[in-house]
């Protein structure tokens, strides 16, 4: 279905060179994020069975988030002549759009919410922030970074920034670069 839809603002039409060049990468990334979201939802449901009926995946937002990420990547590539995108930028920019377009949603009524224990309430309220951190760990495996405790500190800062609405992708990428050695795993 994806190849019949013009990507979000990045492509003028299906015959355009940009569409042809990036459509496969776009589709692959879309499937990647969707797969990780499903796995994350399963993990949450295993950890807290009481939340199982209340965790939903918003597939439309996955499409919007990945499309907006590709807008950024293609802008960097074509307008700023940047030839490679390091995985810290992939993580930071993808996290931004997944934060702004929540992938994991809480689907719960008033009474059911207040019947949950405090720990479950916290998890449910912050579920998309937690998924965003999971996505960063997916793109930058913790076992590959210089210092996993430093990574935790950075992720903790991202959590705070997302909660207060000031997460910013350039700043995030710069912070992640301090812990991630260049290893050549790059693309858009």
């Amino acid at each position: 279905m994806v190849d019949r839809v013009a990507l979000f603002g990045a492509f003028l039409n299906e015959e355009s060179p940009l569409y042809t060049e990036y459509n496969k990468k776009f589709t692959d990334r879309l499937q990647e994020v969707e797969r990780e979201a499903k796995k994350f939802a399963v993990v949450v449901k295993d950890l807290r069975p009481s939340l199982a009926p209340h965790v939903d995946i918003n597939h439309a937002n996955i499409f919007i988030a990945v499309s907006r990420y590709f807008n950024d990547a293609i802008r960097l590539r074509t307008m700023h002549k940047i030839s490679g995108v390091h995985r810290t930028k992939i993580a930071a920019y993808t996290a931004k759009w997944c934060w702004l377009n929540p992938i994991l949603n809480a689907n719960i009524g008033y009474d059911d919410y207040f019947a949950l224990n405090d720990s479950d309430k916290v998890l449910l309220l912050n579920i998309n922030y937690l998924f965003t951190l999971d996505l960063i760990r997916y793109f930058i495996p913790p076992e590959q970074v210089h210092d996993v405790h430093q990574m935790d500190q950075i992720l903790s800062r991202f959590l705070y920034m997302m909660k207060v609405g000031v997460y910013e992708e350039h700043h995030a990428a710069a912070l992640l670069e301090t812990i991630d050695p260049i290893n050549g795993e790059e693309s858009v």
Partner: protein, 61 residues
Amino acid sequence: MADTEKPELPPETISKLCSDPALKAEVSLEIENFSIPYVGRDMPNEEKASGLQRSLDLLLG
């Protein structure tokens, strides 16, 4: 210096930067690898669960 004026790097500095082997290696690595598609890794559910627990610890302080 007026706002519109831009400081210029002396030519020898630019030349030195361009000939720095470490910098060249890094730049060519980026260009060389751009065409390699990012292959999503297999992130096991156990790793996801442990990451979620760490994130919850960060969240709850």
